[in-house]
């Protein structure tokens, strides 16, 4: 118990619990993981909410993310400053959304952000092409890529504007029941 007190105050832990899908223990574990990545930068004592951020290079080397082709996008989508630097809050947020408990709506919002490479709030053809390249290690020919992208847009675009808005994306996800279990990283 004494160990716990030095990292977070009870009040902080309550706040984290209210704002994420984690229990106290998991939050402490997350802190451990966060601390582990850069023991020199991240203090053990978080009672005063120190303003510490870890750069994207450290985060994407976590075993949970390391092999993920979308690792940079994931981290960037959750980083508050947009550069991919994650504060502990962002870090907890990230795994909270990716946890099992998070509802489909919340996951969909962040999945959309992740796939929206150019951050224009639409998944347009270029985003799809990038996604496809990441998914297949660029093994497809350019023609195949355009064909697939066209098909995707044709299929999922409801309002006919040639790109996928969030509504289109969510509608699509509602038809892919596996999404909930696959958009999930267990820490």
């Amino acid at each position: 118990m004494g160990n716990k007190q030095t990292i977070f105050t009870d009040e902080q832990l309550d706040a984290y619990q209210d704002c994420t899908f984690f229990t106290r223990k998991e939050i402490l574990r997350l802190h451990g993981r966060y601390h582990e990545m850069a023991p020199n930068i991240v203090p053990m004592d978080y009672t005063k909410d120190p303003d510490v951020k870890l750069p994207i290079q450290l985060i994407i080397n976590m075993p949970e993310l390391k092999e993920n082709p979308f690792k940079e996008r994931i981290v960037e989508a959750f980083s508050e400053d947009g550069d991919g630097n994650l504060s502990f809050n962002d870090f907890v947020d990230m795994f909270s959304v990716l946890s099992e408990m998070a509802p489909r709506e919340l996951k969909a919002i962040y999945a959309f952000k992740i796939y929206d490479f150019n951050t224009d709030n639409f998944i347009c053809k270029s985003d799809l092409e990038k996604t496809l390249n990441k998914l297949t290690r660029e093994e497809l020919t350019a023609e195949e890529i355009t064909l697939v992208c066209e098909k995707v847009i044709e299929e999922a675009d409801m309002d006919g504007d040639g790109k996928l808005a969030f509504a289109d994306f969510e509608n699509m996800i509602s038809k892919a029941p596996d999404f909930l279990s696959t958009f999930h990283i267990r820490i």
Partner: protein, 885 residues
């Protein structure tokens, strides 16, 4: 053009309507030019800003003719051309996509709700008010119906001033907080957890809500302060206690780590097998606990010593020594177990029947519940998407963390995509009539063959088992008899192991249009085989063994089931040894072409369903059967895990884990569990229990135990209600008749409702498409009007834009200096400004573009708005100019 028109737009682009306000408030600071000094200062920031701006520009859709929607390049060209009108600018960043230093700017995620409370907050919310039809904002509101701070719809706010933003924001936040404060604490936590905002904002909101709560609390009841504090503390303590408890419960969950490893290495599809295994294991643990505590423990207290000798073979056959243990039905007594000290008694008959009955009822409901939940989750939208969209964007399994697995998955995906592309071309090829007939004929032949094989297996098993029954009557040594009993289970297990391979071979002959259909066909055939084998065994048990006048036929059935389960378990181990380990060695050492075997999820899950069915049947005849199941599942879990890790690779085909799990739960329910229930019903209501052993000896049927008990109860006045319930509800045909009718009526009603909803969905879908077309049409008209109006005064316009914008450039520069992020509000103002300034020029520059390129609706929409504004400005400008000398 009225503002009402705006309401019709279902377009997220409307979020940018705040640019309209700014435009309209005429703060023309022409901040477009601010990017010039910025760019010269810092490459990165310039890059950022370009990236963002072009993105934003696209969103704003200010210059759609120049932007083929999917590519950003022309956007850049545009910003070039726009800036060319004011000064030379070279943009070194040709293509932002390939730039590795591309940085993500969360503020850019403009419509995404995560920033709702950030700087952009009020705009977005406002815009959601403005465009009530805006699809994104609408769904945002829907999602957070409880959080929503919908302001009174105020289209007029378009005209309101920028200064009111902060006020509005503050107000809305206050409203939200009040809203949250009025909820119960649990709902509040849930609502906050669901809010897609950063942690800081969430915590902020939470703190404010708590403050609000305590404030109202204190103000309303200052006197009972002490009491409330006490209450508060207990509530807090309770919560912490609950959290601690849930943590410990979490620890109890089995195999968390192993499952994580499997998930990381093989993805969700293979994991679904292990999750299913775990789920079945919990069923068995529950049933074991119930049976052990209510049937076995009382019996153990009353039972005498066992004087049969034990040799190792019993473990396989289940006969011999085990005959006189609590494992089998025959050992249980029919007497009431009485403890002499306090005269309390325990009626074994009732305990036996009620424990098993209640267990089956609980099983029934939990199966129905999980089935319904799974159906509801996975089959809501049955209207099939051919799925390439979902395939692309939902297919990545974020669970996979293993390097090899990732690479494998990627190459699998690319082959899949290639396959589906070739399928598209194949579909175009229409099969000729003869080919089609040939295909159907092949299907028919294969189906007949597989059903024939299943029937032949059944017949073989039936005659073998009858023979064995007669064989047991022959006078042979005990050991020989016991060994002979093993023939039947071995044959059954062999059939179960080999016939599926045979079915798999059929797959080579058959050509299915979709691989999925082949999977379904194989599963159905295997289920047919397994269930019919179990069915024929049940028939043999109930029809031959039960009427054979043998001593203790229930125990014989129990032994049969025991043997079947044990031998099946051994075959499962052998199967994973030969099917996976040896196969891998062959695949990697001798015959490289074969490669590493895939983990066959369907076959393994069907095996599990098969053993579980046997175990359920066995519960009545051998109450401790669940214990066996627990042990075997435990071992299977580890063996399969090791074999999977060492020998297998994840399946190459797409495995729709959720849908297949639903199917498997359904299979577990429909032929399996319902079959077990009917077997139980026959045993309990129809068959005569054996005369010399078991709890029900001497009765004509098992259910007589209950009716006899009811007779006894009838004499006590205090338990009349039990008798009444039994006579009028459980024992009455009329009651069940009425119940069935009611259920049928409800089902019919729901069915009709579903039909109605389907029609509704179809209509709404059509409506969406129509709305899109309407928009297209209107906007095309608008565009035509706009071009015809703007083209003539082109020169004038350009002149003005260069002259009148010049002075305000200084302001813009000052503003930039005060901005940390390039895309604060001013950044956006700047967008509106720059692009609006650019429009006439653009239209003048590339009319050809406009002809050839069909802009998306959102682009057109933004363009239309822009055009309207432009027109209005012009008019105002003209008015002003009229006043000038």
């Amino acid at each position: 053009m009225t503002y009402h028109y705006n309401e019709a737009f279902e377009n997220p682009d409307y979020h940018y309507s705040e640019t309209l306000e700014i435009d309209r408030s005429r703060e023309r600071n022409s901040s477009f030019h601010q990017n010039l000094p910025e760019s010269s200062l810092d490459d990165d920031s310039l890059y950022d800003s370009y990236e963002g701006r072009s993105g934003r520009g696209q969103r704003n859709q200010d210059y759609p003719m120049a932007i083929p929607m999917a590519s950003m390049q022309p956007g850049f060209r545009y910003s070039h051309s726009a800036s060319r009108s004011t000064g030379p600018n070279t943009n070194p960043y040709g293509n932002p996509h390939t730039n590795p230093s591309f940085e993500y700017e969360p503020e850019l995620a403009y419509t995404s709700p995560s920033t709702f409370h950030a700087v952009d907050g009020p705009y977005v919310r406002r815009s959601s008010d403005v465009s009530d039809g805006g699809s994104f904002s609408q769904r945002y509101n829907r999602r957070q119906a409880d959080l929503v701070y919908r302001m009174p719809s105020s289209l007029l706010r378009l005209d309101s001033n920028a200064e009111t933003y902060n006020k509005d924001k503050y107000k809305q936040e206050e409203k939200l907080i009040k809203n949250l404060a009025s909820m119960s604490s649990r709902e509040r936590v849930k609502a906050i957890q669901k809010t897609p905002k950063t942690m800081k904002e969430k915590r902020d909101i939470r703190n404010k809500v708590l403050m609000e709560k305590t404030k109202t609390f204190v103000s309303s009841s200052t006197r009972i302060n002490c009491c409330t504090q006490c209450l508060y503390k207990t509530a807090l303590f309770y919560r912490r206690f609950k959290n601690g408890l849930s943590e410990y419960l979490h620890l109890l969950q089995l195999w968390q780590k192993t499952l994580k490893v499997i998930r990381g290495k093989f993805g969700t599809s293979v994991l679904s097998y292990f999750v299913f295994l775990k789920w079945l294991l919990t069923f068995n643990i529950f049933s074991f606990l119930v049976n052990f505590s209510f049937i076995t423990i009382p019996q153990l207290i009353a039972s005498g010593p066992n004087n049969l000798s034990f040799n190792g073979l019993e473990l396989l056959t289940g006969a011999g020594y085990f005959k006189k243990t609590v494992l089998y039905y025959g050992f249980y007594t029919n007497s009431t177990i009485t403890k002499t000290e306090n005269n309390s008694s325990y009626n074994m008959q009732l305990a036996y029947i009620f424990t098993i009955g209640i267990y089956f009822i609980i099983c029934f409901f939990s199966l129905v519940y999980s089935m319904a939940k799974s159906f509801c989750k996975n089959f809501i939208n049955l209207q099939t998407y051919s799925g390439s969209a979902a395939k692309l964007l939902c297919i990545w399994d974020f669970n996979i963390t293993n390097e090899k697995a990732v690479k494998l998955k990627q190459s699998n995906l690319s082959t899949q995509i290639k396959e589906s592309l070739s399928e598209v071309t194949l579909e175009v090829l229409n099969l000729s009539l003869t080919q089609r007939i040939a295909r159907i004929a092949i299907h028919l032949v294969v189906w007949v063959a597989s059903l024939g094989i299943a029937a032949a297996c059944c017949a073989g098993v039936y005659f073998l088992s009858r023979n064995e029954l007669q064989l047991l009557e022959g006078n042979k040594s005990e050991l020989e008899n016991e060994a002979a009993t093993l023939v039947l289970p071995i044959v059954v297990s062999l059939l179960n192991l080999l016939i599926p391979f045979c079915f798999a071979l059929f797959g080579l002959i058959e050509k299915f249009q979709y691989p999925r259909h082949q999977l379904y066909a194989t599963i159905i055939r295997n289920v047919c085989l397994k269930i019919s084998i179990i069915g024929i065994l049940c028939y043999y048990w109930l029809n031959d063994v039960a009427t054979s006048e043998k001593e203790c036929w229930e125990s014989l059935v129990g032994q049969d089931i025991y043997r079947l389960i044990v031998i099946d378990f051994i075959f499962c181990l052998l199967g994973s040894f030969f099917g996976e380990f040896v196969r891998r060695i062959i695949g990697t050492k001798c015959c490289k072409k074969l490669g590493v075997p895939e983990f066959d999820i369907a076959r393994n899950v069907l095996d599990l369903i098969y053993t579980q069915t046997l175990a359920w049947i066995g519960i009545f005849f051998a109450p401790l059967m669940p214990a066996m199941q627990i042990i075997s599942f435990f071992i299977i879990f580890y063996v399969k895990k090791v074999s999977l890790m060492r020998n297998c690779q994840p399946p190459r085909k797409v495995w729709r884990a959720s849908q297949m799990t639903t199917l498997f739960i359904f299979l577990l329910f429909f032929p399996s569990f319902t079959g077990v229930l009917s077997v139980m019903a026959v045993t309990i209501w129809r068959l005569t229990p054996s005369k010399q052993c078991g709890p029900f000896q001497g009765l004509t049927s098992v259910i007589h135990a209950v009716s006899g008990w009811i007779h006894v109860l009838d004499s006590y006045s205090s338990s009349k209600w039990v008798v009444w319930i039994y006579r009028n509800l459980i024992g009455s045909v009329h009651f069940f008749f009425i119940l069935t009718v009611i259920v049928l009526i409800i089902t019919y009603l729901y069915w009709q409702i579903i039909e109605g909803r389907k029609i509704m969905v179809r209509l709404l879908h059509e409506q969406i498409i129509n709305e899109g077309k309407d928009k297209m049409f209107l906007l095309n008209k608008l565009r035509a009007l706009q071009t015809s109006k703007l083209d003539p005064p082109k020169g004038e316009q350009q002149e003005r834009s260069s002259s009148s914008y010049q002075p305000s450039r200084q302001d813009a520069l000052q503003m930039t200096a005060s901005l940390e992020r390039p895309f604060g509000r001013n950044g956006r103002d700047f967008y509106a400004e720059s692009s609006s300034a650019g429009i006439p020029e653009k239209t003048g520059l590339s009319p050809a573009d406009e002809e050839g390129h069909q802009p998306g609706i959102s682009e057109t929409l933004a363009l239309a708005l822009r055009a309207r504004q432009q027109a209005e400005w012009e008019m105002e400008d003209d008015d002003e100019e009229d006043f000038r000398p």
